[in-house]
């Protein structure tokens, strides 16, 4: 996927003017937050579970190597194979290799953000293999040559009309407008692909060390057909998704569904534990797990380690006023919203992604709803520190901050500045109490008036009052 994060501001401006996108974002805001709140309200122990989940994730991250090796050992015992991939390129090549060994022409895919991260679809196409997305949202995006704008509702930026149009154009059928009819048509188209596919690729929500199982959590059931029908099943997962036991997994499942969609439990929670055994009725003959690092192990032991607790529920973006205003594509890469603003700089570099961790008012809503209590505003601030240390912060901003800091640490000068600035503003707008146009502050006055000081500064007035009191 082409990186467009440096164009965040332009993309955001366009997004704000896009009537259809704004309508779609309105649907998002009207849906997820309310459903989550209701689900949380029905579960008095929710906050306690969040603490447990945070602590357990911290424990896992302290022993990540141990649990991953245990996971690998169990997968191998179950007859599967584990492939360790340090980079996105390693992962792509490994997957291609497996597909080639199977002489695969077509692969079906369950929804997976990691495969977006490693740009898998494009790579497979370039190498003569046709990937078919089977999650409805992803399927629509693939028809349109589009990318996800949200990690669990990938086509949230589209409206019914867009889907109707895409199906009509690509399926060569009469135009449908009823959502149920559209879904039936997609199902009909996909059914053939499920049967024809040589390889099925899914992601994983969790990897269970004690059993060597992977689990996917979906609401459509497409993932199940993707992983059970083809001869070969490839699970692509990032390394931080490992949990010690099945019981630990259930703790995260309880938090995940409620935080994501407000469901008590997702519709399909499907475990894969190796390839088909002799007495199994179905399942793949070959079972591969591709473990993707792609910068994650570099985060361990740093101020960004807490980000690896993320379980990809999307609550942070669902509640983020910035995401809600500009949508996911504005962020210019795979992961949008607050979690993306922390992850993206790690993966594509702070030089390219600096605008993302700055695109936050630090309002803290994301941290408030995070099921594993990731301090997202703090982590975004840490990226700003990296940006500042590396002198990537724009020169005018650095100059402004330096000047302000100089004033702030010289109280007498500061008083002189504040009283003069107050006086100047009162001269400019005192009659009305506000200024509508201020040359150096157009970022403010383009959109709103600038209220002017009501009189001399407090410090001036207070000193005058003290003098008065001392006299009398």
């Amino acid at each position: 996927m082409q990186i467009k994060s440096p164009e965040f501001k332009q993309s955001a401006r366009i997004a704000l003017q896009d009537v259809n996108l704004q309508k779609a974002l309105g649907n998002l805001k009207a849906g997820f937050p309310g459903k989550r709140a209701a689900a949380v309200a029905r579960m008095p122990e929710f906050d306690r579970l969040r603490d447990e989940a945070r602590d357990l994730k911290n424990h896992i991250l302290e022993h990540l190597d141990l649990y991953l090796e245990e996971f690998e050992a169990r997968v191998v015992e179950n007859g599967g194979q584990v492939h360790w991939c340090r980079t996105a390129d390693d992962a792509r090549q490994t997957i291609l290799q497996i597909c080639r060994e199977q002489n695969a022409k077509t692969v079906t895919k369950g929804k997976s953000m990691v495969t977006e991260e490693i740009n898998l679809n494009e790579y497979l196409e370039e190498n003569g293999i046709h990937p078919v997305e089977t999650d409805l949202g992803e399927y629509i995006l693939q028809l349109r040559g589009d990318h996800p704008s949200h990690i669990i509702a990938p086509a949230i930026h589209l409206n019914l009309e867009d889907v109707s149009e895409a199906f009509h154009e690509h399926h060569k059928r009469p135009k449908l407008t009823d959502p149920a009819a559209l879904m039936a048509e997609a199902r009909e188209m996909l059914r053939k692909q499920f049967v024809a596919a040589d390889v099925g690729i899914t992601g994983a929500n969790f990897l269970v060390a004690e059993t060597g199982s992977t689990i996917i959590v979906t609401n459509e059931g497409n993932g199940d057909l993707t992983q059970t029908l083809p001869k070969t099943h490839i699970v692509v997962s990032s390394i931080e998704k490992v949990v010690p036991t099945l019981e630990d997994m259930t703790l995260f499942l309880r938090l995940l569904a409620r935080s994501a969609t407000g469901q008590e439990f997702s519709v399909y929670n499907t475990l894969s534990s190796g390839n088909r055994r002799p007495d199994d009725q179905d399942g793949p003959e070959n079972f591969h797990v591709v473990l993707v690092d792609n910068g994650r192990s570099d985060m361990v032991g740093t101020e960004f380690q807490e980000m690896l607790r993320c379980i990809r529920c999307s609550a942070c973006m669902n509640h983020c006023p910035v995401y809600g205003a500009v949508g996911g594509h504005s962020y210019g890469w795979v992961y949008p919203g607050p979690m993306g603003s922390v992850l993206t700089p790690q993966m594509i570099g702070i030089e390219q992604a600096a605008l993302l961790p700055n695109a936050s008012t630090a309002c803290g809503k994301c941290e408030e709803v995070c099921p594993v209590r990731i301090p997202l505003p703090k982590l975004m601030r840490h990226w700003r520190e990296k940006e500042f240390e590396q002198h990537l912060t724009p020169r005018a901003v650095r100059w402004g901050l330096g000047s302000w800091a100089f004033l702030a640490t010289h109280p007498m000068l500061y008083r002189l500045f504040s009283s003069s600035a107050s006086r100047l503003m009162r001269l400019l707008g005192g009659q009305k109490g506000r200024i509508s146009k201020l040359p150096l502050a157009s970022g403010w006055t383009d959109h709103r008036d600038m209220p002017v000081p009501t009189g001399k500064t407090f410090m001036q007035q207070w000193q005058a009052r003290q003098k008065q009191e001392n006299k009398s």
């Binding site: 955001a12 700055n358 803290g364 408030e368 500042f388 800091a405 702030a408 506000r434 403010w444 407090f458």
Partner: protein, 263 residues
């Protein structure tokens, strides 16, 4: 507060740079409230800005320099109280700026333990319930993010406001959603900030309130500026102005008064 009548509580006022420059009445109202609650208020001389712009922009060196000065300026008071959840929240961040072996760490922790936003101080620390004020009209309350999420300020201002004679609180939709100010955010991302504040002013107007009240001047200047630009009737005031019965000054961004003071 019987014990406070014999032994006044010494409070250092953290004025905040926005109150100092844009709306001194907010600081005076804070002093009045604290005195009503039995405190002896002083204004520490060497205070300036809490350093939040540097802190939020990743400039750790300058954040630390400003923090050290502010810590020093605010030492020697039983409590430090200010009319802003955001600036007091910043004082609470100071310990993060120093390593464990730095002697400033303990001083930063000590300041954090003594620093309170004014409505939280009145309710949570002093258990104060002696508001003497009158305000006739319907108001709505904006929960500023830092106060709400860093300091747990939600009920305190509402409890105090409910003691005012004549006031009626009409909660707006999404009272807890950010207004889009965000310090330097509003000038770095003006288009997004504009959308956020427009949503906010819409909700405020829809609440039917004639006055929008909040506890942080940054947010209030932002929302008042937008309401004025949109030509809406809703007035904006800091919560302490209502609580201290000091609503004689024109609302934020208005000036229907005689410019009595010399410029």
């Amino acid at each position: 507060m019987s014990d406070t009548q014999t032994m006044p509580i010494k409070v250092g006022l953290f004025v905040t740079c926005l109150a100092d420059m844009f709306r001194p009445e907010v600081a005076f109202a804070t002093v009045k409230l604290l005195e009503q609650a039995g405190c002896e208020v002083e204004v520490p001389r060497n205070q300036t800005c809490c350093g939040q712009p540097a802190f939020n922009s990743g400039d750790k060196h300058n954040s630390r320099t400003i923090a050290r000065q502010t810590i020093e300026a605010l030492e020697g008071y039983r409590y430090v109280v200010g009319p802003s959840g955001s600036c007091i929240g910043m004082l609470h961040h100071y310990p993060e700026l120093f390593t464990e072996d730095d002697p400033w760490k303990a001083r930063a922790e000590a300041l954090k333990a003594r620093a309170f936003e004014v409505t939280s101080f009145l309710v949570d620390v002093l258990n104060f319930s002696g508001i003497q004020s009158e305000f006739n009209g319907k108001i709505t309350y904006h929960d500023s993010c830092s106060g709400l999420r860093e300091l747990g300020i939600k009920q305190q201002p509402r409890q105090l406001l409910s003691e005012i004679d004549g006031v009626e609180l009409a909660e707006m939709q999404e009272a807890e959603t950010c207004c889009g100010f965000g310090g330097t955010f509003c000038v770095k991302y003006p288009d997004i900030s504009n959308r956020m504040v427009s949503n906010k002013t819409g909700f405020a107007a829809d609440s039917g309130a004639s006055t929008l009240v909040g506890g942080d001047l940054g947010c209030l200047l932002n929302m008042a500026g937008k309401l004025k630009r949109e030509g809406r009737e809703v007035q904006v005031r800091h919560v302490v102005e209502l609580l201290a019965d000091m609503t004689g000054t024109p609302a934020i961004g208005e000036a229907d008064y005689d410019l009595g003071q010399p410029l």
